[in-house]
Amino acid sequence: MVDRAESAVALAGEREATPPKLSLRGLIKTRRSTSGEMLTAVDNVTFDVHQGEFVCLLGPSGCGKTTILNILAGLDEPTSGKALLDGRTISGPGPDRAVLFQEPALFPWLSVVANVEFALKHVGVAPGERRERAMGWLENVHLTGYANAQPHELSAGMRQRVALARALACDPDVLLGDEPFGALDAQARELLQNEVQRVWVESEGRKTFVFVTHNVREAALLADRVLVMTAAPGKLLEEQRIYAPRPRNLDDALVSRVVSEVHEVLMREVGKGGTT
């Protein structure tokens, strides 16, 4: 008998003994709306992410999860509270925290492989090695055949895979995802979810993934920890820790159970008057 629960719990315990990779303390973010009033996007959020974890931030639209992700990425700053990476305040974006955006954000003037080389260039890989390594990353996402194509020639799903290859080429400690599969059709989404799962498993605890999503099943499928947020102003509502092996399937008993519980919680939240 394989006690995944026990081994997963032990693993989680080990991870938590280390200092957190990412840390939010009392994070508050407010902004001024077009009509001039102060809106609170994120209201006093505190949580840690340890290295090797896969965390999903889940919540209805407008709950501030994308704001949190932007702050972790260094693209935005807290109004008050702390956002820390390895114990130090996050001061800006960088290849140590690669980001997968909802739109693939490939550079249209570069070919597929040149897009990946762009990432390699900015992490200091020597010019002679870039092509080979870039092809390696493309192979990882099964797209070597399209290396010399231009991004506009690829489907949305393929472009997102290239974006994934490009993000991983930076060899980031942290991969951040801002609803990266939200714009894809069901098949492309499933394909990419599996790719991401595989990549994370293969990183063997060296990489930390934090994804934002409003898709409950995706969160239950991918994450060790699902942080559920309320509607705006966003606060943390509950956390689900999932001790189930990967690769996971949507029809796994545990995954299904978690999905229905979280779904129920979210429905109640949405019903409370958050904008969807």
């Binding site: 974006p93 960088g94 954000a105 930076c170």
Partner: protein
């Protein structure tokens, strides 16, 4: 090769129809009002052999290259500066727009006051006519760089100058080249018109040739034809291929 032929065929057919029509209309008219295509052609051949047309064309093109070049430099420098600084942009951009809207001809009398009936006056008008397009295109092309691409560039480690070189400039290129294309058109028109008006003893551009050929109608039309052909040639042999290449790479080509 086939594609080039396919693309050239309709315009050539159009031109051919025009020539036929022209010949028909010109037949009963006197050579001094509406010469036939054949008469214009022989005037053209004369102009080529005695060098007047080639010399004039050469001079004009030289001035054009100079004024266009200067327009690009000034226009881009100002445009870049305004793109970077919001206050400067809000202060100065309206002035540039005003300049672009004003017909360049309006500047000619002033140019003559400042520079006399000289080459410098003509070049000045051409530059004033052309650089606003470059400036405005520079500003707008920078402004239209998708913020998502800038964010992506930054998360991949490109900052400051690297971000400009790696992301912002390439993203702004299509809009910028469109601006250059427009500026070229303005420079060309301003230059030939300026030359016409400032025709003088030492002046030898195509515009001046027009002025000198007032009494030689076939030569007049031949010169006009040369001006038209040069304009079209630069447009279709230089700008259109460049623009097309830039856009097709980015998947911006409409209709392919």
């Amino acid at each position: 090769m086939r594609r080039v032929a396919r693309e050239l065929a309709p315009p050539l057919a159009g031109v051919a129809c025009l020539l036929v029509l022209w010949a028909i209309v010109a037949a009963p008219a006197s050579p001094n009002t509406l010469p036939s295509p054949a008469e214009v052609w022989s005037a053209f051949a004369r102009g080529l052999s005695n060098g007047s047309i080639t010399e004039a064309a050469g001079k004009t093109l030289l001035r054009l290259a100079f004024s266009f070049g200067v327009s690009i430099l000034i226009g881009t420098a100002i445009g870049f500066g305004l793109a970077l600084n919001e206050f400067a942009r809000r202060a100065i951009r309206p002035l540039v727009v005003a300049l672009q809207i004003t017909p360049f001809i309006a500047w000619l009398p002033l140019a003559v006051v400042w520079f006399g009936f000289s080459e410098r006056a003509v070049v000045f008008v051409a530059i004033v006519g052309a650089f606003p397009s470059v400036t405005l295109a520079t500003i707008s092309s920078f402004g239209q760089v998708p913020p998502l691409l800038k964010r992506a560039g930054r998360t991949l480690g490109a900052q400051g100058w690297q971000l400009y070189r790696g992301v912002i400039f390439p993203a702004a290129l299509p809009g910028y080249v469109s601006g250059l294309q427009q500026a070229w058109g303005f420079a060309w028109k301003a230059l030939t018109a300026g030359e016409l008006i400032t025709a003088g003893l030492h002046a030898t551009g195509l515009g001046q040739l027009l002025q000198r050929s007032k009494d030689d109608v076939p030569m007049l039309i031949a010169t006009v034809a040369v001006i038209v052909v040069i304009g079209v040639a630069v447009e279709y042999l230089v700008f259109v291929p460049i623009d097309r290449r830039i856009r097709s790479r980015r998947g911006l080509l409409v209709g392919g």
